[in-house]
Each structure stands twice: as structure tokens, then as C-alpha cells.
């Protein structure tokens, strides 16, 4: 029985770290400009497809396509912010909520149009297979994704805390007006944050593509969980998103195993509700 418990904890962590990585990009965008990027899951999908096409057409292993995914999604985020989202920033909150939703529908169906709704899989990434550690089975691609997610999160964390630009982003997150007064070009920070957030989820897509199947609507399921993770961790809090991702991963897996798999997502949502009832600003939000 303890074997099963450990196995499920391992599984929970593996999926949790991916949730964390996806959520970090989302919370950055959210925290800085108070925009719920409903298209976040679709950026994930684009990251996955980028990785897939590089693999299929040029034989590039997903790990090596990470730089390309990063760059591509960074630019995409920048363009979408510049030409679409920035125009809604002065509008009512509802318009901001809805515009990313429109982008989401557009991107998902553009993918259907360009690549058909068929399912794709990267069959043999460089690091594949399963390690047997005692009686615990550890999926290699998932493990690599976990390590990668951890490293990237650390990197983002250091960037925000230690570099000048990073600190400017944090300052804008905390108090926009004060940041303006301090001479920070908040519009530029917005663009940058949106671009970075998109790039991060693009990287998550590259990792995910090593073991999950790829298709135009894949953004839906991960996107929904990502919102829950971000809200649970507290909007704008990178640490919060990171921890919440792991909590959600564990809740989903352990809850599904010990209580009932049919309710596993309901359990995640229930945890969110209970958390915000006690602490309305999420775990580490302000």
C-alpha cells in the first residue's frame, strides 16, 4: 500500500511541476496587468505544435526546440499584446476578460484549419522510457519536464528578484501608479511581461510534447487547471503559483486514487474554494 502511495505522490509531483510552469507565465501576466489570459492554454498548444513540427520536419528533439519555442512564443506574446490587448487596457474589465477569450477561440480553430484536428505524438524523444526505482516507476520524459520546470521557475524567480528589469516588473505588479511615478515605463513592462509569460508557457509546451498527445484543443484542459492554480496561489505571486501547481498535482492524483477518480478535478476545485473562503487572496497573494 505504501508503494502505491509513494507512486501516486511521485505522479502527483510530476504533473504538478508542469502545472507550476504553466501557471507561472499566467500569474505574471495577471499580476502585472490584471488580465486573465484565456488564450494561455492555446499558447501552450502552439508551443507543443512548434516542438512537434520541428521534430517531424527537421528531426529536432523537443529539448533542443526549447529555444525556438521560447523565441516564437515571446514574439507572439509581444505582437498580441501590442496590437490587440494593449488597446483594451483602458477599457472596461469585461472587455479585457473577453478579448483574450476571442483570441483563444481564434487560435485553437486556426490550428484546426492549418493542421487538422488529428492527434499527434512525438514517439521517441531523446529521453524516453521509464526508470524503475525499486517498485516505483518514474517516467523519464515527465521527470525531465519536472527538472526543467524547476530550473526555469528558479530562473524566473531570480530574474524578477535580482535584475533591474525584473524588479521593475515586480514593482509594477505591486503598485502600478507608484511604479509610474518612479519612472518605470509601465507600458513597456506590460509588453515584456506578456511576452515572457507567453514564452514560459511555450517552454512548458515543449516539455509537455515529450509525453502528451498534441492536438488543437489541448489548451482547454490545461488552461482551466492553470487558472485554478494561479488563483489558488494568489494572483501575481510567482512563488504562489509554483507551490499551488504542486498542490493541485498532488490533490488531483491522490484524491483521484484514494477517493474517486471521477471526482478528481472536483476535489481540486473544492480545495480552491475552501482556500479562498479562508484566505480570499489565495495562498501567497496580496
Amino acid at each position: 500500500m505504501t508503494d502505491q502511495l509513494v507512486q501516486q505522490i511521485v505522479n502527483g509531483l510530476l504533473i504538478g511541476f508542469i502545472y507550476s510552469l504553466i501557471a507561472i507565465g499566467l500569474t505574471l501576466i495577471w499580476g502585472v496587468m490584471n488580465i486573465v489570459n484565456f488564450a494561455h492554454g492555446d499558447f501552450l498548444m502552439l508551443g507543443m505544435f512548434t516542438s512537434f513540427w520541428l521534430y517531424t520536419l527537421y528531426g529536432v528533439d523537443p529539448l533542443f526546440s526549447i529555444p525556438v519555442c521560447t523565441a516564437l512564443l515571446f514574439v507572439l506574446g509581444l505582437l498580441i499584446y501590442r496590437y490587440i490587448v494593449s488597446k483594451v487596457m483602458k477599457g472596461p474589465m469585461l472587455a479585457q476578460l473577453v478579448v483574450t477569450f476571442g483570441i483563444s477561440i481564434f487560435l485553437a480553430n486556426l490550428a484546426v484549419f492549418l493542421w487538422t484536428p488529428d492527434f499527434r505524438l512525438i514517439e521517441k524523444p531523446l529521453l524516453h522510457g521509464t526508470w524503475d526505482i525499486g517498485s516505483i516507476k518514474l517516467s523519464v520524459p515527465k521527470f525531465v519536464a519536472t527538472i526543467g520546470s524547476f530550473i526555469i521557475s528558479l530562473f524566473v524567480f531570480l530574474f524578477l528578484k535580482k535584475t533591474k528589469t525584473g524588479k521593475a516588473i515586480l514593482a509594477t505588479e505591486m503598485d502600478r501608479e507608484a511604479a509610474l511615478l518612479m519612472g518605470i515605463n509601465t507600458e513597456w513592462i506590460n509588453s515584456l511581461s506578456f511576452a515572457i509569460g507567453s514564452a514560459l508557457v511555450g517552454i512548458a509546451g515543449a516539455f509537455l510534447s515529450t509525453y502528451y498527445y498534441i492536438y488543437p484543443q489541448v489548451g482547454g484542459s490545461f488552461g482551466l487547471i492553470a487558472f485554478c492554480v494561479v488563483a489558488l496561489g494568489g494572483f501575481g505571486s510567482i512563488e504562489g503559483a509554483f507551490i499551488a501547481g504542486i498542490i493541485v498535482g498532488l490533490a488531483q492524483t491522490l484524491g483521484g486514487f484514494f477517493i474517486d477518480p471521477a471526482y478528481k478535478y472536483a476535489i481540486v476545485f473544492l480545495i480552491y474554494l475552501i482556500t479562498v473562503w479562508i484566505r480570499p487572496q489565495g495562498l501567497l497573494g496580496w
Partner: protein, 321 residues
């Protein structure tokens, strides 16, 4: 009817007459179906608007009330042969109670936190119904084909009665919205939307009025649910409890103009025909073009007309004075 200009009343009457004549002129079931969807989603958008556009609670979980309404009246009809009109009222009341039960602990939640909580709530309700054997779990429920009559709330030979009933429901919801908006309650809602703290200072019982807004919204949404069940004669969690329905309701309100009475109706009048027509004309190719257009449309409207289409009318109306 205070505060209504002659222009508003007369254009309302003209619109009403046109809508009444519509199915008599366009006798095919498809356009009638499209209009029924416009009324149904319009009603749910108006209901959403009461708590969202006016009281500032952006709910992405309205589908839960829709489903509760549909399931309650259908369950009572199938199991206890209770008249669906009575079931409608019961469904509405249960939805309102559930709304209060979930709304109370969420009283402190603002903006995005509330939105995500509403999604969580909707999903929990869906999962629950999906596994609840009493109401058919994932297999759903099929309504018996009763003799067609107003009393049975079921019609087989023509869509006309459905059309007029749904139109009547929509008008009821608009009247409710109007009363709420122009009453002191509406003033309180708007104050709460602006700022909870300011509202409290003004002596407004924020928690209480939030609950009222949610309950009214839930009741009306549940009514639409009962209508749906009586109209389609089949329901399962995948058709009456899914997130995309909640999202569509928000989109419609926003597109039409949240915070105005007619806005959501305009939104429904645009979005429903567009999505139906694009599906009919382009969906069968399977290329996704219909949804690309839909997504682009939503994006464009958000960017260029964020106050919604109603914003266009009200601006022009102002000029006319």
C-alpha cells in the same frame, strides 16, 4: 413606468410587434429556433447582467443554475409527474437557494477570484450531477413525449408556442432587470460594484445585497433551464452543465453591453445568429472556419467597441437630443 422616454417606449413596442410577427412571416423551424436561442440566451444574459453588469460579480458559473433548473423540473416530471410549470418554480427556488449557499462564503471575493470561484462551483456541480444516479448520472434524462398542450409545456406540431413562451420569459427577465436597475436596490448594486468599502461606509449591507443579486440571477437562469428541457426533451450534464455555456452568457452580455438593460439582448441577437449561421454554412466542412470567424469577431468587438453594441445606440441616442 418612470424614467422611460417616449422614444424608448415606442421603439420597444415596435420591436415587440416585429418579434410577435416574426414566426408568422418566417414559418420554417430553423429561423424560429435561432430566435428561440436568442431569447433563451438573451434571458440568461440579462440574468447574468443583474449580478455581473450591475452588481459587479462576474460569474462564469451560470450554467450551474441553468442545469439545476432543467434537472429539477425534469426530475419532478419524470418521477413524480409533477407539472413542469410547477417544476419551473421549484427549480428556480432551488437554484436561488444553492446560489445563496455558495454566494455567502464567496461574499468576500472580488473580481477575478470570484470569477474563478464561480467556475469551480460550476464544475463541481457538473461533476456531481455526472455521478448522481438519481438523475441518471452521465446518461442524463429523457423527457416523456406527452400530449401537446400549454399545461404540459410541450408542443410537437409547431415551434410557435415555444417561441412565444420564451419571448414572454425574456420580457419577464427584462422587467425584473428594469425594476432592479431603477430601484434603490439597483443603486446599492452599483455602489457595491464600484467599491465594497465605500458601499459599507454608506451603510449598505454588502453581503445581503450581493446575495439578493445572485439569487434573482439564479432564479431567472433556472427558468431558462426548465424551458430548455421542455424544448429539447433530453438533457445530460454535457448539454446543460458545461463551462462553455457559462462563457457564452458572459460573452453575450459583454458584447451587447453589460450594465445596460437591453445590452445583453442585443448581444444575444448578434451572437446567436452568427454562431448558428456560421455553423450551418461553414461547419460541415470541418475546417473550423466558422469558429475562426467567431473568435475574430469577439476579439474585434472587444477592441473596437468595448462598451458593447449598446454603447453605439446610447451614444447616437444622446446625440439626437
Amino acid at each position: 413606468m418612470r424614467n422611460l422616454t417616449f422614444k424608448q417606449i415606442s421603439s420597444g413596442i415596435v420591436a415587440l410587434i416585429l418579434l410577435i410577427l416574426f414566426p408568422l412571416v418566417f414559418q420554417k423551424p430553423f429561423p424560429q429556433h435561432v430566435m428561440i436561442l436568442v431569447f433563451m440566451f438573451g434571458m440568461m444574459a440579462v440574468a447574468w447582467n443583474i449580478m455581473g453588469g450591475y452588481a459587479g460579480m462576474f460569474s462564469f458559473g451560470q450554467v450551474a443554475f441553468f442545469g439545476i433548473g432543467a434537472y429539477t423540473s425534469s426530475f419532478l416530471l419524470i418521477t413524480y409527474h409533477i407539472n413542469p410549470w410547477l417544476g419551473l418554480v421549484v427549480g428556480g427556488l432551488i437554484a436561488a437557494l444553492v446560489a445563496a449557499a455558495i454566494g455567502y462564503p464567496c461574499s468576500n471575493l472580488r473580481g477575478h477570484y470570484f470569477a474563478i470561484a464561480s467556475i469551480a462551483f460550476g464544475e463541481i456541480v457538473r461533476t456531481h450531477f455526472n455521478n448522481w444516479k438519481l438523475v441518471g448520472a452521465a446518461e442524463g434524462m429523457t423527457l416523456p413525449m406527452l400530449e401537446e398542450s400549454f399545461e404540459n409545456f410541450m408542443f410537437h406540431s409547431s415551434k410557435l408556442p415555444y417561441y412565444y413562451i420564451m419571448l414572454a420569459f425574456l420580457i419577464i427577465s427584462l422587467v425584473v432587470c428594469y425594476i432592479v436597475a431603477t430601484s434603490k436596490m439597483g443603486y446599492y448594486f452599483r455602489a457595491i460594484k464600484e467599491s465594497h468599502d465605500v458601499a459599507k461606509v454608506l451603510g449598505i449591507n454588502v453581503v445581503w445585497y450581493r446575495l439578493i443579486a445572485i439569487m434573482i440571477s439564479a432564479f431567472l437562469t433556472a427558468m431558462a433551464g426548465t424551458f430548455y428541457a421542455q424544448y429539447v426533451l433530453y438533457l445530460d450534464p454535457e448539454s446543460v452543465l458545461i463551462l462553455p455555456i457559462s462563457i457564452q452568457i458572459v460573452l453575450i452580455s459583454m458584447l451587447g453591453g453589460a450594465g445596460s438593460i437591453m445590452g445583453p439582448v442585443i448581444g444575444a441577437a448578434i451572437l446567436m445568429p452568427v454562431s448558428e449561421i456560421t455553423r450551418v454554412m461553414l461547419g460541415h466542412k470541418g475546417t473550423g472556419i466558422d469558429m475562426i470567424i467567431y473568435g475574430a469577431l469577439i476579439t474585434l468587438i472587444s477592441v473596437y467597441q468595448p462598451k458593447g453594441v449598446w454603447g453605439l445606440f446610447s451614444n447616437i441616442g444622446k446625440r439626437a437630443k
